[in-house]
């Protein structure tokens, strides 16, 4: 279905937008228009200039050249207020919510004059209730935002835009932080919204989402608009090729006999953290030369399992064995010494130290062992190591003295990957290793993991993306509520069957049978 109607003027028109940051041209002469009720997907790799373009539209940056028209009116550049007043709402990738304030306070912020004598709380809440009913965005207006799940927070962000009568919604990678179910709910809301006459610009690098939700796809590469396709006339393969500018390759997993058991968990239970469950009598064997995939909805015990393997937690019951040795004393340092390499789930918080430079981050896990002499750090060796990682793992950065927070997610992940693989780990814990990465970086990470497998390492791949699990894994387990499914060999399970295990079915029968 195409909602485009040539007779109607576009609700939004960007003309010849150019934006430079120093030598980098983030947007180069980009033009497009959006029709009423249309969903445009803006597709591109990390660093292709999608977010910059939308920040210009929303008035957070001003363009060096070009202009933005909303409903036929030229938008004053560099002023979010003007964009908001014109009916443009933006849901940022990193939410702009205050955690200690309630939902309604977050929504009403900025909508009433600062000189107004009081907040009209009751009227505000009534309007929020009305909007949340109309758009199926259930949320408790009196809840503190800090206590909401990520999905709920996103609903608040969307409500915030709707509360301001936004008629054009910009969503910047809205599904990057959502579970598959939450993403589906978001899509339902968006369909609702376009039915009510809103128009949407949807930024993403996930092809299946783009195919599912958009009418038209614009592909950005290196700041330039390289292609425009009606979604109905294109395919995932074509879009992927357009995005990276070449054919896409997923790694070949050649069949290989399993190697020795490098790690064994026997009836292991552990404590959960907060709302996340711990492990319940989990038995798991990781073989060398195998990728073991762990499928499951986030928050079902993946955290507890990766804490256990990386040395952050001890089993409360059961036995942990590495290469046949029962483990009694366990810490992250001991885990490293035992040849465990970890790619943590949250690369910003547990993978790197944001304000440390690449050299410091490159040696974070090994500085006491490989980069110290008589108690003094050997900076020359550390720097050489960082330079080698940057070259070998194609980390795009100004140099080893750059603070790591300035790198894109993909490049940060490549450095972490390099840091892990260079220690020649026997066991690799890869927890959501490609979350938020573009196709180029994603393929790179997958290829390197496949390579480590061929060299005999045992890889535990934890992911919510079933496609990723099915493509890469030799053996698949599903985790649900801290329980682990039996092992399924490669090619024996369809996604639907794994989905049923993910929902918690099947476990009861196993318990019954045993």
């Amino acid at each position: 279905m195409s909602a485009r109607d040539q007779a109607q003027p576009p609700v939004l028109r960007l003309s010849n937008i150019t934006k430079r940051f120093g030598a980098l041209c983030a947007n180069d002469d980009v033009s497009f228009s959006l029709a009423k009720g249309e969903v445009i997907a803006l597709l591109g790799e990390n660093g292709a200039g999608k977010t910059t373009l939308m920040n210009i539209l929303f008035g957070q940056y001003s363009a060096d050249a070009g202009e933005v028209e909303v409903f036929g009116q030229r938008l004053a550049p560099g002023n979010p207020r003007a964009a908001l007043d014109a009916g443009v709402g933006m849901v940022h990738q990193h939410f702009t919510l205050a955690g200690n304030l309630t939902v309604w306070e977050n929504i009403v912020l900025g909508t009433q004059a600062l000189s107004a004598p009081r907040l009209r709380a009751r009227a505000v809440k009534a309007r929020i209730a009305d909007l949340s009913k109309r758009f199926h965005l259930p949320v408790d207006p009196d809840a503190k935002v800090g206590q909401l799940s990520v999905g709920e927070r996103q609903r608040v962000e969307i409500l915030k835009a709707l509360y301001r009568d936004a008629r054009i919604l910009i969503l910047d990678e809205p599904t990057a932080v959502l579970t598959p179910q939450e993403s589906d709910a978001l899509f339902a809301t968006l369909r609702e919204a376009i039915g009510l006459g809103l128009s949407v610009v949807f930024i993403s690098h996930k092809l299946h989402e783009v195919m599912a939700i958009s009418h038209r796809v614009l592909v950005l590469r290196h700041g330039r608009l390289v292609a425009e396709r009606a979604t109905a006339d294109t395919s995932r393969e074509e879009l992927a090729a357009l995005m990276v500018g070449g054919a896409v390759s997923s790694p070949k997993i050649a069949p290989m006999p399993p190697g020795p058991a490098l790690m064994r968990l026997s009836d292991v239970s552990s404590k959960g953290e907060g709302h996340a469950p711990g492990l319940q009598s989990v038995t798991l064997t990781l073989h060398g030369g195998q990728i073991t995939g762990l499928a499951g909805v986030s928050g079902n015990g993946q955290g507890a399992l990766s804490d256990l393997i990386s040395g952050l937690a001890m089993p409360s019951a059961g036995q942990l064995e590495i290469a046949g040795d029962a483990i009694t004393n366990w810490s992250p340092r001991r885990a490293l010494a035992r040849g465990i390499g970890r790619i943590p789930e949250d690369r910003h918080h547990t993978g790197t130290i944001a304000d440390f430079d690449l050299t410091e981050n490159a040696v974070l896990e090994t500085y006491t062992r490989d980069f110290a002499r008589h108690g003094w750090l050997d900076w020359a060796a550390a720097r050489a190591h960082a330079e080698a990682l940057i070259a070998t793992y194609d980390v795009r950065c100004p140099g080893p003295d750059t603070a790591i927070r300035l790198l894109s997610g993909g490049n940060m992940q490549k450095l972490i990957l390099g840091r892990v693989l260079e220690t020649k780990p026997r066991i690799i814990l890869a927890n959501q290793p490609v979350r938020g990465l573009d196709i180029g970086a994603l393929n790179y990470v997958h290829a390197r993991l496949a390579e480590a497998r061929e060299q005999g390492a045992a890889v535990l791949l934890i992911s919510e993306d079933l496609d990723e699990i099915i493509t890469l894994s030799d053996v698949i387990h599903v985790i649900s509520q801290g329980r682990l499914s039996p092992a399924f060999a490669r090619g024996t399970m369809a996604p639907e069957a794994l989905g049923r295990w993910m929902a918690g079915d099947g476990f009861a029968e196993v318990a019954h049978a045993s």
């Binding site: 990193h94 919510l97 955690g99 200690n100 009403v108 907040l119």
Partner: protein, 314 residues
């Protein structure tokens, strides 16, 4: 006189409320700053400056309320300095705050010597007198304790109500709280984080100075060099104790003041004859630390406290 007698005497509670008043002003001032995301360590010096400015203005012939206004203005001036350095320039709030405290304190002493070069003891002024609220002051115990205070004490309590109302019931207060929680959220709504934070620091500093002026215009009738004596630092702790909420902070101020009033009275009991008086002086501070430990464990610190905000940066 034993403990029960002390705690049930109107004179004790009247003293506690009196001692609490300057703390309430300054605590509210600090609370406003911190709610907007700025730690104002200039508080100690600003209180000294306020104590001096209010007193010297009255000595020079202004009415008492005029002295309060002058103190407020002096506080706002130092607030402007603090805000300029810490908000748009984004300098370390600790360094700026200590700097403002040192500057305000020394500038006060310098001005004192310039204005009064020859005196050996500072001149006295006609300070605020207690005002007995009709009817209410006749309630037994509560009347003489709470309703026979000076007008500036009543103002302190009214200020707490005003701060709470503005923070929680007005769009302005919401913007201030949001600026202290997530400045990005404020900027994304097209509001100026810089203006909101600077405004909060300037007004907050004004109230700190009035807290100082209470000492010279109401509690005493003259200015001494070390009269503020660490009260500013206590107020920083009281904001934490109060979990950044005006009502709880008021409670903390009164509690601290009650301990202070109590230790003075305990010194005059038979125990005071054997126990060194320094131990009594320590008492309010030790009890405050204990209360702080107990109360502040679950406090919700403004998430963007001491986080500088630069527009256009990630």
């Amino acid at each position: 006189m034993d403990l029960i007698d002390i705690l049930t005497s109107a004179a004790f509670w009247a003293a506690a409320i009196r001692i609490a008043s300057p703390l309430i002003f300054a605590t509210m001032g600090e609370l406003i700053c911190e709610r907007a995301g700025v730690l104002n360590l200039g508080i100690e010096g600003i209180m000294v400056a306020g104590a001096f400015a209010g007193w010297i203005a009255v000595w020079a012939g202004l009415p008492l309320w005029g002295g309060v206004a002058v103190a407020f203005a002096a506080g706002m001036a130092f607030g402007l300095l603090h805000a300029t350095l810490s908000v748009p320039f984004g300098l370390s709030q600790h360094v700026v705050g200590i700097g403002v405290t040192l500057l305000a304190t020394s500038l006060t002493f310098y001005t004192y010597r310039v204005v009064l070069p020859e005196v050996s003891s500072p001149p006295k002024i006609e300070a605020f007198q207690p005002f007995e609220v009709p009817i209410l002051s006749h309630i037994p115990l509560i009347g003489p304790a709470f309703f026979a205070q000076t007008p500036l004490t009543y103002a302190a309590f009214l200020l707490v109500i005003a701060v709470a109302l503005v923070l929680y019931r007005t769009p302005l207060g919401l913007a201030v709280r949001a600026a202290g929680e997530n400045p990005q959220a404020v900027a994304a709504q097209g509001l100026s984080v810089t203006a909101i934070r600077m405004g909060a620091v300037i007004v907050g500093s004004g109230f700190m100075a009035v807290g100082g002026a209470f000492l010279t215009l109401s509690a005493f009738d003259s200015f001494f060099f070390d009269m503020v004596n660490g009260r500013g630092w206590i107020c920083i702790a009281l904001v934490v104790f109060g979990a950044w909420k005006p009502g709880k902070a008021l409670l903390g101020a009164v509690l601290f003041a009650a301990f202070d009033a109590l230790q003075i009275r305990l010194q005059q009991t038979p125990i005071g004859a054997v126990v060194p008086y320094q131990l009594f002086l320590m008492m309010p501070y030790i009890l405050s630390i204990l209360a702080l430990v107990l109360m502040s464990r679950r406090a919700e610190v403004p998430a963007a406290l001491m986080v500088t905000f630069n527009k256009g940066e990630r």
